[in-house]
């Protein structure tokens, strides 16, 4: 009940107030350094009541650092934060929540086996003596749901809900704690285009009720659609601000990157040749004997890019792991260049011309403690000239590394630098360089640009297209629909472990693919 009244008050206040008085949160000259990097340098921002402020920037631009400072996870080195005009110092998220600041993290902080209500209550329990007062909590939750139009069954178990609804629970969790400011960290990363639309509607309803939203993202289209104001960050600095009316995608992208960028991938029509990869009726079960991948069949021909679209967690990872020999499959066949491949034998696959750019570059793609020299020979260290009679040839390994660093433009102090000391983009270049410098006929790229800056994304897209044009078959798996649409020649859509359709990229449109991704075949 209290919440309702409060929010109503806020709305009236918000409409009454104008100009400076609506300022709710202000950060002034924030500095935050980590050993070796300046995450925030002289960053200032203002957040007004009832607006969506988009914080745009590439990975590593300092967006998350700034928000973590405001949310109390980090303490700034210098600079001040004001809340409703009062100086505000926060040491932990608990203080932040008490001050009316909530955060929806990119990776949801929910207990999968608890119900919606239990998750919402967790940490803010209403009690009667030593017992939980679920009834009162439920009443409050239902009221919130009704007033914000955020319907979720309070008794549903979290892990049984689709991702879009789980996110809704995260938002409810914040509202339940009476927040006035909601920080959303890359909230659309896990959503289908339709779910994203739904989220935007919710965000608008929240702002109408006087809630202020900071929306962290690197997706230009979304910023233009939802934001009232946009602040662009680059390398720890605020480099500009704009309103959607004043700017467009190209303007934002060049501010974000600091130079002109090509958003579309330039490519000629594909000239497909023979089939290089054939997957027949593949089934992969998870630990509970449920299908992760169900009766998947697909083929990739030389000189084409087959894109696999789908919302994260619909079996793409399992499919790729099975194809690349990292995971056992329960039934089905995998053929490369007309040869049947054995189960779980990555080396056989590599020796048959497969290159694999793995989804998790730090887990599978690199040994972070190793120098680049070793990482560049990770898959062929045992072959001549890198190894002879079981003894490594340091000279040949170093020569190889120097050549690849040069050819793939890896920015590193030296070939002896540990892979872990490089930025994400350069780590990915090491993997791409290693995999694509071999004599390959098939490239499997899983989320090859995740977390990379625009420059690296451009580079990797171009490299994949170059491989295609050189007659290599490419299987590209990505949850970024834009990436799939701009790079692929054909698009397969995965939903709940099945390939629900394969489309020609020329006549595919976003809305149709979005529906397929959501299971509306």
């Amino acid at each position: 009940m209290d919440t309702l009244d409060l929010t109503n008050d806020k709305t009236t206040e918000a409409t009454k107030m104008t100009g400076k008085e609506t300022l709710i949160l202000e950060a002034r000259n924030i500095y935050k350094t980590f050993p070796g990097t300046i995450a925030n340098a002289d960053v200032s921002l203002e957040l007004h009541r009832g607006e969506v402020l988009a914080l745009l920037g590439e990975n590593g631009a300092g967006k998350s650092t700034l928000m973590n400072v405001i949310y109390g996870l980090y303490t700034q080195d210098s600079g001040e934060i004001f809340l409703n005009g009062e100086p505000y110092s926060i040491n932990n998220p608990h203080d932040a929540i008490a001050a009316g600041i909530g955060m929806v993290h990119q990776h949801f902080m929910l207990v999968p086996v608890f119900t919606v209500l239990e998750n919402v209550m967790l940490g803010a329990e209403t009690c009667r003596g030593p017992f939980l007062n679920k009834k009162a909590a439920e009443a409050k939750l239902r009221q919130l749901e009704k007033s914000f139009g955020l319907e979720v069954d309070p008794h549903a178990i979290i892990e049984e809900l689709p991702v879009g609804l789980q996110q809704r629970v995260e938002i409810l969790k914040a509202l339940y704690r009476d927040v006035e400011i909601l920080i959303m960290d890359e909230p659309t990363a896990v959503l289908t285009p339709q779910e994203t639309e739904e989220l935007f509607k919710i965000m608008r309803r929240l702002t109408e009720r006087g809630v202020s939203i900071v929306f962290i993202t690197h997706k230009l289209k979304e910023v233009l659609e939802i934001a009232d104001r946009i602040i662009i960050m680059r390398r720890g600095h605020v480099v500009g601000s704009a309103t959607p009316a004043e700017t467009d995608e190209h303007g934002l992208a060049s501010m974000m990157v600091g130079r002109e960028v090509i958003l579309e991938v330039d490519k000629l029509p594909a000239e497909p040749g023979d089939t290089v990869l054939e997957v027949k009726q593949l089934n992969v079960h998870d630990a509970n004997q449920l299908h992760s991948v169900k009766d998947c069949s697909l083929s990739v021909r030389a000189g084409e890019v087959l894109g696999v679209a789908g919302v994260q967690g619909n079996g793409q990872s399992e499919l790729v792991e099975a194809i690349t020999g990292l995971r056992r499959y329960n039934s089905g066949e995998i053929w490369i260049d007309g040869k049947r491949m054995p189960q779980e034998k990555p080396r056989v696959l590599v020796e048959n011309g497969m290159a694999h750019i793995p989804e998790d570059r730090q887990k599978h793609g690199l040994i972070l403690q190793y120098p680049l020299t070793s990482n560049f020979v990770l898959c062929n260290y045992y072959r001549e000239p890198y190894s002879r009679h079981g003894v490594l040839n340091a000279e040949a390994i170093l020569k190889n590394a120097d050549a690849l660093i040069e050819r793939f433009d890896v920015r590193t102090p030296s070939a002896e630098t540990s892979a872990g000391d490089l930025s994400g983009g350069n780590q990915q270049k090491v993997i791409v360089g290693r995999e694509l410098s071999r004599d390959v006929s098939l490239v499997i790229a899983n989320q090859p640009t995740r977390g990379l800056d625009v420059g690296s994304i451009e580079y990797i897209h171009q490299t994949l297209i170059d491989m295609r044009d050189a007659g290599v078959g490419v299987l590209l798996v990505s949850s970024e629909l834009d990436e799939i649409m701009s790079v692929s020649d054909r698009i397969a859509v995965m939903y709940r472990g099945e390939i629900v359709d394969v489309l020609d990229a020329r006549d595919a449109n976003r809305e149709h693919i979005g529906l397929l991704m959501a299971g509306h075949a």
């Binding site: 080396r347 056989v348 599978h364 040994i367 190793y370 898959c379 045992y382 490594l392």
Partner: protein, 366 residues
Amino acid sequence: MESVTPSQNNWLQKVWFSVRIPFLAIILALIVGAVVLLVSGSNPLEAYAQLFKGAFGSLKNFQRVLEKSTPLIFSGLAVALGFKAGLFNIGAQGQLLLGAIIAGFVGFSIKGLPSYVHIPLALLCGIVAGALYGAIPGLLKAFSGAHEVITTIMLNYIAINLTDYLSDGPWKDMSPGNIVSRLPAIEESAKIGTIGPVPIGFIVAVLIAFLIWFVINRTTFGFEINSVGLNPHASKYAGMRTKVLIIAALIVSGALAGLGGAVETQGVVGRYQPGFNAGIGFDGITVALLARNSPIAVIASSLLLGAMKGGANTMQFYANVPNEIIDIIQGTMLLFVTAEMVVRWVFKMRKRSETEITVTAGWGQR
């Protein structure tokens, strides 16, 4: 001259960088030991002086230090190699016991062989015994996922009881007048001698340490072992047979420990007798951690522990300090090396850089 200096500095800096934590940990442990000595009413300076004298005061004392160090080098290498592969081989003790008793058995039961056949034969049997015993936790880990810490601890108990049984049962020394449980003395032809004051076993240990260094740093097998230890997922991705490597690493580790036991039997004790090898395998953990898993540094840390063990009796006798103080210092050393944070805090050092070696990589990761 000028142009050379920076790179020399760099090299020295690198060496200092990798040895400073163990070095400072030793200093801290000696300080803690001194405090304990003070509290118990002894003069720490005198005690340490006697300890030093006991270790290096005479050629004979020094020979004893080398004798004490020899099995530590082997067990230290065994543990270090396991760590390199991401495995915590607590079973060096058991593997060493089996190596020691099998070498002892081959040493006394086969007669009439020339020593150039008998010595290597007994050593080889010790190696094989340790290797096979090391293979068990390897197989268990690779095929059932059983954690090597658990299995090697349990296998230690089996090894202790098995060797006790053999030395009080079927292989007992039945010579008249013997009442203790032990094996008969090995034949002269199986004994490993000394060159001057230096036991040949020590020379072998040092050579093996360099060999292991070469294998780990210069061979494809070493590359695979390191890879599996640092990142098993990436190793699988790279097409390495991670299960085979885990088994292989524990076999080699067991072989090293087994060789250590055999050298102890043939070079120092002259027979297998329960109790004579107690704790050596566990000291190997201290040695490996102090050496931060570097095979060459294992030689140095074994010598340090060997010197403390060798000098302990003199210290006890002349400074009237109980032997157990050595265990306290050794334990404190281990504590400081593993709790690196404390050392950094005491000496106000900056946080570790990525390039340093992580001793604990792989513990309990799988």
